[in-house]
Symmetry: C2
Subunit: 176 residues, 2 copies
DNA sequence: CCTGAATATGTCACCAAGTGCCAAGCTTGG
DNA sequence: CCAAGCTTGGCACTTGGTGACATATTCAGG
């Protein structure tokens, strides 16, 4: 059901635009009522961005589960490299988000909530609040840069390689 | 008028909460109608965050006006250090934003628009799109970290010093 | 096969944010 | 004094989002 709604939403958003699509349109296209839509997604934007918090939790868990001796930046790099493809999905969706302010805003908000989770995991690994904050925000910045650079290349760049490059370029000097 | 509305909005938000305050309340408190409120601010959130795009433009201009030989990171550091106090204002406002998701979301969105402006200034200084993107996103991350750390200390830390520390810690390795 | 509880859905009424439209007021310069 | 122009208020409207209640569907146990 969620998947059905998400699929219809993507269709309608791409062909008609986000603002020109009403929640009722999406719901009806999926064969249900507006009220039921809001039982699957808390906001209209989440029809596209709904899986993010779930992956955020898994990312935070994986970070906590890593060997304690590992450096924080390597840890973030490794875990996020594995999830990058799952966060920055199809180019169509990325383009839509990039060109639609409300979607972009909601994405940033969810990224920020994810960041808060990751901060917890990092402080659990012994970092100070400032360090954890700094590391998490840098990692988020890295992913964002990867997504935009990938968009700039029209989707032709190799994302894992790009991720490695960006993480290397952005590595904070103070992290082990 | 804008200032009057902003002041009333801050009062009402702090004493009653953001969600519990209606735009009509703010407008009436400032002696005008809801319709006129929206002639001064495009959204309810902007009653608190309205000055940001103006300072973003000035920041971008100052970056463009800096000596061309200067390193990009020093440039960002210098300009943003000067504006930091103007971006992260009173602790009351910061706390309110931090504890109110819609305000936080709108702030992130505006920060992102500001980032886009700064990217233009940086590419004008000879950086590649990827580099400019990376530098701007790192600088935004730095300011964000400063604000949160300052909040953590309850407003007692020295912000310029903190800004210097964070910019030093986050300096991307690849920038001159 | 029946029944009763849990869960999913629809309908309706409602609130608040935001916008377009038009009429009325106020301010200017001539 | 008057006319052009900007500011404001009021009104109607759309849409996102929520609460309440009724109905349908599912599914377990007797």
């Amino acid at each position: 059901m969620r998947a059905e709604l998400a699929a219809r939403a993507l269709e309608l958003f791409t062909e008609r635009g986000f603002d020109e699509t009403t929640v009722d349109d999406i719901a009806r296209a999926a064969g249900m009522s507006k009220r039921s839509f809001f039982r699957y997604f808390p906001t209209k934007e989440d029809a596209l961005l709904g899986e993010l918090e779930a992956t955020a939790e898994r990312v935070a868990q994986e970070i906590s589960a890593r060997p304690p001796g590992e450096g924080a930046w390597e840890c973030l790099h490794t875990v996020l490299r594995a999830w990058e493809a799952h966060i920055n999905t199809q180019i169509e969706v990325l383009r839509l988000i990039e060109s639609t302010p409300p979607l972009r805003a909601r994405l940033l908000q969810k990224r920020d909530e994810a960041r808060a989770l990751i901060v917890e995991s990092l402080t659990g690994r012994g970092l100070s609040p400032l360090e954890a904050d700094l590391a998490s925000v840098a990692a988020g910045a890295a992913l964002d840069t990867v997504a935009r650079e990938w968009l700039r290349t029209g989707g032709s760049a190799d994302r894992p390689t790009l991720t490695d490059q960006v993480f290397a370029m952005l590595r904070p000097a103070f992290l082990s």
